[in-house]
């Protein structure tokens, strides 16, 4: 029987209607010494208002350089069962779909070797198994991998790609997010497991600009589905929305960012050449409006959290690329992008930071992408312009300018 700690502060957080993480820890603590000690230590943090964890050293499994985050209690005498409390990142399946069989299998492993606590899922997308001892890591890995699971990423490596539910259950997916996510994960297995890059590199795949996986804000490489054709309008369904009480003028037409819609005599029109495919009208009138024509993906690069140079959203680098199996063009593009980064970046420099330092032109030339107005919000303002002698031989030739 694991030890019982007095947890008056945490107990407060079992009250109230929303599901409680404290309850979860207590459930695990009924059978796990680790979870029991974790509960005790967390209560102490609640009292003292500081964490009691130490930096991780390098821990992991044979042949891999990542996938485990080392963690140690700074009070190992007081909480001996969490002297080690490493997390294991297991690469989730595309779209976070599971069978209950699979879930039970992984629970069995974790109950045997770990704290019985998980995160379903971590912010990057992995299944996070919270808390185990260094001694258990090889066993855990053998159990998981023999059943078809593999570790996720950590360290200066490809990080576990993730995606929105896309074509599995969404009418707006322009690309097969689940498949792209899976194929890219497979493609970069070596780079995912053996950190050899300047820093982390995250990939997220969203089926449309609604971006239900936050690709544009949280992935070095944000792959977002888009289309080129017109929006098809079903006027009968438009009438139904109006009948249903929707104020189409106010809710749709006025909110269209490009002002390209009109609504007269019950008819909704889109001036397609002015639509920028923002998804608003489609999302709010899904029965009446749908994209059509050529589908593909935009590749945006660079988003990340604030450290070191301030948070970034991803920048459009490839406005449109075909994304159909076997995804050769897409894979090659991403490989080239990473190669450019790997070649030039300092340690702990994300690709967004590097693009700022080296300039977008350096990247675009390396990956063979033309400059296009679709890449920018607006052109430069200040006339501090770099030219190469070649530019004058090829672009700014006397006969042209």
């Amino acid at each position: 029987m694991p030890k019982k700690y007095d947890t008056p502060l945490l107990d407060e957080l079992e009250k109230g209607p929303y599901p409680s993480f404290v309850t979860e820890i207590k459930k695990a603590a009924e059978t796990s010494d680790m979870s029991a000690d974790a509960l005790g230590q967390i209560e102490k943090s609640y009292r003292d208002k500081i964490p009691y964890w130490k930096h991780g050293g390098i821990v992991g499994v044979l042949g891999y350089g990542g996938g485990v985050i080392g963690r140690y209690s700074s009070l190992p005498e007081e909480f001996p069962n969490i002297a080690h409390f490493h997390t294991v990142r297991i690469n989730q399946p595309s779209g976070f779909f599971y069978t209950t069989k699979a879930l039970r299998e992984i629970c069995d492993i974790w109950d045997k070797y770990g704290s019985g606590l998980t995160n379903m899922h971590g912010s990057t997308g992995d299944i996070i198994f919270l808390g185990t001892d260094t001694a258990n890591l090889e066993a855990i890995f053998a159990e998981f991998s023999s059943r078809g699971w593999d570790l996720g990423g950590s360290g200066s490596a490809m990080r576990t790609p993730s995606c929105c539910i896309g074509p599995a259950r969404c009418e707006w997916a322009n690309i097969d997010t689940l498949d792209i996510c899976y194929q890219l994960t497979q493609e970069f297995q070596d780079e995912l497991h053996r950190p050899a890059w300047p820093y982390k590199f995250k990939v997220k795949v969203a089926g449309c600009a609604t971006d239900c996986v936050a690709a544009i804000a949280r992935a070095d490489c944000s792959i977002i589905g888009t289309w080129k054709g017109p929006i098809l309008v079903d006027q009968d369904e438009v009438k139904n929305y109006a009948k249903g009480g929707m104020n189409i003028a106010a809710e749709i037409v006025r909110m269209c960012p490009t002002g390209c819609m009109s609504y007269k005599n019950g008819e909704l029109k889109v001036a397609d050449e002015d639509c920028n495919r923002c998804m608003h009208c489609i999302a709010k009138m899904t029965k009446a409006l749908r994209p059509s024509g050529e589908r593909g993906a935009a590749i945006l690069l660079g988003s990340k959290a604030p450290i070191v140079v301030g948070s970034l959203l991803s920048w459009v680098v490839v406005p449109f690329i075909k994304a159909e199996p076997p995804y050769d063009e897409l894979k090659e593009m991403i490989r080239n992008i990473i190669e450019w980064w790997d070649e030039h970046a300092k340690p702990r420099e994300r690709i967004g930071e590097l693009i700022e330092v080296k300039g977008m032109r350096s990247l675009l030339e390396y990956i063979g992408v033309d400059p296009q107005p679709q890449q920018i919000k607006h052109p430069r303002k200040d006339p501090f312009i770099f030219f190469t002698d070649e530019d004058f031989e090829k672009v700014y030739t006397k006969d042209k300018v």
Partner: protein, 356 residues
């Protein structure tokens, strides 16, 4: 006890193994969907097939006990299929309308909370906090729980003008979605870190420490074979602490929480936006951080009462203007709201236009 044969570099299981049959059949051929209740929706395929989704709140930290329990429920109603969302909710899927009511009934019976679909508050993206991270300036899970208890109705019933995405990060590394959320909490250190010179000498690389500082506040201290920090340049980001455990950034009395607002991710109506500082600082006040939660409610309620339908928090603020936002919410405006460095340039007003 012998271990099974390990495999390497196999990647995750192929997702197809886990897709419910109706999804496999209609993959990529969905036509439209309808939100039925705050926690249920139906997607209709071109074939006419339908799939009903029931969304259930999760604390994200799940014990295997709970995972087994939801597996049982999925076995009972969903043919043994289950999924999680990108915001860590649990989704139960059924292809037969008749299965919907019994599923929901069992969920409610077992204490699960159904909701989070449509224009309301869904689960909170958050981080490890005191539960697992050495850098945490607060606890993330506790803040989420305290906040969602108060926002509960916006998950289960009430509507808002649009989705409101909440997030919590326990330090400025922001392992979550804070920088682009409608309303988010981010924990701050507010004091220059303290260096254990003896320990530093033996455990850390000085060039790495120096390079880690975004404001170039750190310089070598050759006498001590250590480093020193120029106080006026330090903004307590903790990056030096990340690369060197001998530098302690924690301070129980001065660690605290800021609230940022107005970020978004989707491109609907307006470009993705960063969150901006609303409340500068609250002291840590576990287990329920009442002032923080009241502040979040203040913002949310002002938004709910004033935004137009479909307007996200940031879109509403930009329409009315930040000076009006501060006025309506009564949030004190401080020196800290004004940005520094080159960021200042884009954020100061460059027009003699004002609301009073």
């Amino acid at each position: 006890m012998s271990l099974p044969q390990r495999q390497t570099d196999i990647g995750p299981p192929h997702y197809e193994h886990f897709l419910p049959p109706v999804i496999k059949k209609n993959y990529g051929k969905w036509k439209y969907h309808e939100v039925l209740t705050p926690g249920t929706m139906v997607h209709v395929a071109e074939s006419g097939d339908k799939i009903w989704t029931v969304r259930v709140a999760s604390p994200r930290i799940l014990s295997t006990v709970t995972i087994r329990e939801i597996s049982d429920i999925a076995d009972n109603h969903c043919g043994g299929h289950i999924r999680f969302t990108t915001r860590n909710n649990i989704e139960f899927l059924v292809s037969d309308e008749e299965k919907l009511a019994p599923l929901i009934e069992e969920l409610k019976e077992k204490g699960y909370v159904v909701g989070g679909i449509g224009p309301r508050i869904s689960n909170v993206i958050h981080t490890q906090g005191w539960i697992h991270c050495h850098g945490a300036a607060t606890d993330a899970s506790g803040l989420v729980k305290a906040m969602m208890d108060e926002m509960f109705e916006y998950f289960t019933t009430k509507e808002l003008p649009n989705k409101v995405r909440l997030a919590v990060a326990c330090c400025v590394n922001m392992c979550g979605a804070v920088h682009c959320s409608d309303i988010a909490l981010v924990a701050l250190h507010t004091k220059v870190p303290v260096i254990d010179h003896e320990k530093l000498k033996n455990t850390c690389e000085i060039p790495t420490i120096i390079a880690s500082c975004p404001t170039a506040a750190i310089s070598p201290d050759p006498a001590k074979k250590s480093v020193k920090i120029k106080e006026s340049k330090c903004m307590y980001c903790g990056n030096c602490f990340t690369v060197c455990p001998a530098i302690n950034i924690h301070d129980a009395e001065r660690d605290g929480i800021a609230i940022v607002v107005g970020g978004k991710i989707g491109s609907l109506r307006s470009d993705p936006k960063f969150s901006k500082l609303a409340y500068t600082f609250f002291y840590n006040d576990p287990p329920r951080w009442p002032k923080v939660i009241a502040a979040v409610k203040n913002i949310l309620n002002t938004y709910a009462a004033n935004a137009r339908k479909h307007e996200r928090v940031g879109e509403w603020i930009e329409r009315i203007g930040w000076e009006k936002f501060f006025k309506m919410t009564n949030i004190p405006f401080t020196f800290q709201h004004i940005d520094d460095f080159t960021f200042m340039r884009e954020t100061m007003r460059t027009a003699a236009t004002f609301k009073w």
